[in-house]
Point group: C2
Chain length 107, copies 2
Amino acid sequence: MEPAVKAIAEPRRREILRLIWTRELPAGRIASHFAVTRPAISQHLRVLKEAGLVSERRDGTRRLYRARPDTVAEVRRFLGAFWDEGLQHLKQEAEAEERRKRNRRRR
Amino acid sequence: MEPAVKAIAEPRRREILRLIWTRELPAGRIASHFAVTRPAISQHLRVLKEAGLVSERRDGTRRLYRARPDTVAEVRRFLGAFWDEGLQHLKQEAEAEERRKRNRRRR
DNA sequence: CCATTCTGTTAGTTGACACTTACGTAAGTC
DNA sequence: GACTTACGTAAGTGTCAACTAACAGAATGG
């Protein structure tokens, strides 16, 4: 999980992921969308693959990549829980504040 | 926005953020929750502050930190949009696949 | 004042990371 | 079999990040 979060922190890797949300794409096609060299993209793809965010399928000389919706959903839930926990705490504090106000008024 | 995403990728910073979701805490109290030295936490706090995720208030010799719900919510929305875009694409593809199946059957 | 407390800041080190260039390799093409 | 295509991998570089140890500074208490 942690590797996936780190992988997503990099903007270029998010861009790559966006390219292969829906369709399978060979590494070269992915690389051609960016200004950096092909090996650089290849390394990004490895990071994404090791994080489980991307699947690789070989077809002759090409390697086709695609996002893995299950892992993506996991990361989404993980971070979602993080935010939600925070918001819940904040809500509780807001309610406590409200109670304090009411108690002050009552005296 | 990008700094905030990077800031959150670090597990220790997420822990710090969790500590000050609800209550204000002085730097020393925050540091005492961790095994690393106090300056290390101080630097993490600076990163969080520069990312706008944390507010700092001085009280005598102490500095009190607290999460900033507005910025936190922004990051949440940013990543939320990222996931949602992906899921939308996947949904579209699933529907397209469905259509293809139907068309095949019709012939 | 001086000492203490609570903190940020400043080197300085180590390691990770994004990148490039150069090379290696497997699958198709002539 | 040589050639090309489409890749990954290795090695090297510059930069950034996380950490420690040592110092600096503001507020408080005597």
